[in-house]
């Protein structure tokens, strides 16, 4: 919507296609805020923000894009304020800023207040401010339309998308001089995910099918304790209040992994221990796929007074009252760092060259500013900065184009129609739910928060088997109007592309870096924490065609300042 606003305000005819009403996209779940070195509460500098982002990315982020984002941050946040965003304020009227994990002053010295928020509803407020502004600027919204495929002509130039109107199942060509994807992440590839059901990586699936590689898809952020089978997060504060993690034998297993800190060990240590327990057969439940978070030994009064929200979540989503029984928990996927490869102008880049007419921004894109690990509040910033920069690139590009759109060949649209036709005609096929569950379980077990060599290798084989199931999905409802079965089958065809990209990229990257952590990556003087800069300081590019992997160097050259030199990442 940030890009659409820029385009509409430039006087261009702008169509926004969305599966759901635009203010109900998953951005609504972003609570923390948006970071910008405004320095309203204490001294701050974009260069410090840049340092934090490069360090957070475990040096996999491109330093040109990161400098651009951090320098633009104060401008785009101030613009958003002028668009009517109800930021929390200081007594002097300036935007109130709070500290947030990983954001520091003076190149990592001490925490700094950099996050701008609208209470705990920052994403919601941002969506509303941008939507209202778009309505004023006459952006045309096509609500409840699902884009099916990207249209690329014989020269590889992007000419728009094929989309389906959900109400009628009618398939329509949207020819455009420039096309931007802002389709979000694909967290639903995992069995346990905080992502809403709409997060099915549609843009990534479309890009992959159109021959665009996906970048750094092995990098996903996880939270250690989500309710197993649901994904709703249980705050780490529960362990702070005395919560104990137990395996199927009832053992307090953290004593073995972190004899001193035990259940209060850092996030990565806890996640690693949980996954090791599950992997070694000591998981709980019929599928042995989770562990238990036990607070039954706490005084019920303490639970009621200090953890009322957690009790509610547990009762509602795990079906257990934590006063009486432990909560089933599992490391839970939260955010996708990789995506469609772009530069900081928002242009999709393949083989070092922009793909004519194609742009991407937000979680679906990989600029790459998050590298191997995203800092909190940098994701909303990513939307604003690259939404705007990609729109500016589109405006410049469109100005150079002839007034008339080129003629499209029918072959350009046939692929989408063929996919829907296959689905309608499939008999003796696989139920969409079964294929999706198989994918999610495979990803969770073989490519979760902590990864093992053998499990990854088996995971590659398994996910290619699951792909065969996805190619044979069958729906019993063949009707045209709001056919949710058809929509879910098409979404699964997008998810499976992301799942393959993730598994295959993770299997190949034999180091640990940021959110990609492997059991077999040795912690040595040359490879601290398993990070192997000599061999792996590079971006992965997975192509759908033959599941090919290629690599491209990380851009270590910022725009105006010196390179932020490699260092071991520790806080």
């Amino acid at each position: 919507m940030r890009a659409a606003l820029q385009l509409s305000e430039a006087g261009l005819k702008t169509a926004v296609l969305s599966k759901v009403f635009p203010t109900r996209s998953h951005t609504v779940a972003a609570q923390g805020g948006v970071s910008a070195s405004l320095g309203n509460s204490e001294e701050d500098h974009w260069h410090w923000h840049m340092y934090d982002t490069v360090k957070g990315s475990d040096w996999l982020g491109d330093q040109d894009a990161i400098e651009f984002m951090c320098r633009e941050a104060p401008k785009v946040v101030t613009e958003l304020e002028h668009f009517g965003m109800p930021f929390d304020r200081n007594a002097d009227g300036t935007i109130y800023q709070r500290p947030f994990g990983g954001h520091m002053s003076n190149f990592g010295e001490k925490p700094v207040r950099r996050a701008c928020a609208a209470a705990d509803r920052t994403g919601h407020a941002m969506l509303h401010a941008l939507y209202q502004r778009n309505v004023r600027a006459n952006t045309h919204f096509f609500v409840e339309w699902m884009a099916l495929d990207l249209i690329r002509d014989a020269d590889g130039n992007v000419q728009g998308v094929i989309a389906m109107e959900m109400e009628t199942s009618e398939i329509v060509v949207f020819q455009a001089k420039a096309t931007l994807f802002a389709t979000g992440g694909a967290g639903r590839i995992y069995a346990s995910s905080t992502n809403a059901f709409i997060n099915t990586g549609d843009g990534l699936g479309m890009a992959a099918r159109a021959g665009i590689p996906l970048e750094d898809m092995e990098f996903w952020q996880f939270h250690p304790t989500g309710v197993a089978g649901a994904g709703v997060l249980i705050t780490e504060g529960v362990r702070g209040e005395g919560g104990i993690l137990r395996n199927s034998a009832g053992e307090r297993f953290m004593e073995r992994y972190a004899p001193n800190a035990k259940d209060l060990a850092s996030r990565d240590v806890v996640s690693r221990a949980m996954v090791t327990e599950i992997n070694e057969g000591r998981g709980c439940g019929p599928n042995k796929d989770h562990v238990l978070l036990d607070i039954t030994h706490l005084d019920p009064e303490v639970i009621m007074s200090k953890l009322p929200g957690i009790r509610e979540i547990s009762i509602k989503f795990a079906g257990v009252d934590p006063i009486k029984a432990p909560i089933p928990v599992v490391p839970t996927c939260h955010y996708q760092m990789g995506g469609i490869p772009t530069n900081y102008h928002g242009e999709v880049v393949v083989g070092g060259k922009p793909v004519t007419g194609f742009y991407a921004a937000g979680e679906c894109a990989c600029a790459s500013v998050h590298g191997a690990n995203r800092l909190g509040t940098n994701s909303l910033l990513d939307l604003l900065v690259f939404g705007k920069s990609s729109a500016n690139s589109m405006i410049d590009f469109i100005k150079q184009q002839p007034l008339e759109l080129p003629e499209l060949a029918t072959s350009d649209v046939e692929r989408s129609v063929a996919r829907v036709e296959r689905l309608n005609k499939q008999t003796n096929g696989v139920a969409v739910n079964d294929a999706r569950t198989a994918m999610q379980r495979t990803m969770q077990a073989h490519c979760g928060v902590f990864r093992f060599k053998d499990m990854l290798a088996q995971g590659v084989e398994k996910i290619l088997e699951v792909e065969k199931m996805v190619q044979q999905t069958e729906i019993s409802d063949k009707s045209s109007v709001f056919n949710m079965a058809r929509i879910e089958a098409l979404e699964l065809e997008n998810l499976i592309e992301v799942a393959k990209a993730t598994m295959i990229s993770a299997n190949a990257r034999t180091e640990s870096r940021g959110a990609h952590v492997r059991d077999d990556a040795p912690d040595t003087a040359e490879t601290p924490n398993g990070r192997d800069d000599a061999n792996w300081l590079k971006h992965t590019l997975w192509s759908r065609d033959g599941n090919r992997l290629e690599y491209k160097p990380v851009n270590m050259q910022p725009l105006t300042v010196d390179t932020i030199a490699l260092k071991t990442r520790s806080y």
């Binding site: 599966k19 759901v20 009403f21 203010t23 109900r24 996209s25 998953h26 951005t27 609504v28 779940a29 509803r121 919601h124 509303h128 409840e144 959900m166 109400e167 995910s193 905080t194 992502n195 809403a196 059901f197 709409i198 649901a230 994904g231 709703v232 509610e312 509602k316 989503f317 109007v481 709001f482 056919n483 949710m484 929509i487």
Partner: protein, 82 residues
């Protein structure tokens, strides 16, 4: 199940896909367990609730806020219980 426009029912089902996971989970159960038994008037009330922004909708489902309309409040009671 009394007569309700089947097309409208499918539209309602899709519009119950939300931006917040917690709502998706609650509404999924609501459809599996309770939706089919609703009267046309109750479905109308549910449709009105769907117009709420996700954050407000979740606050109501979590009991942090209430709806004034008695028909809507009755649906919310069901959502709180599933």
């Amino acid at each position: 199940m009394t007569a309700y426009d089947p097309i409208e029912l499918k539209r309602i089902r899709w519009r119950s896909r939300r931006g917040l996971l917690e709502l998706d989970l609650v509404l999924e159960r609501f459809f599996a367990q309770r939706f089919d038994a609703l009267s046309p008037a109750e479905i109308d009330a549910y449709k009105r609730i769907l117009d709420l922004p996700d954050t407000d909708f979740l606050d109501v489902v979590n009991g942090k806020a209430d709806l004034d309309d008695p028909e809507e409040a009755a649906i919310i009671e069901i959502l709180r219980a599933v």
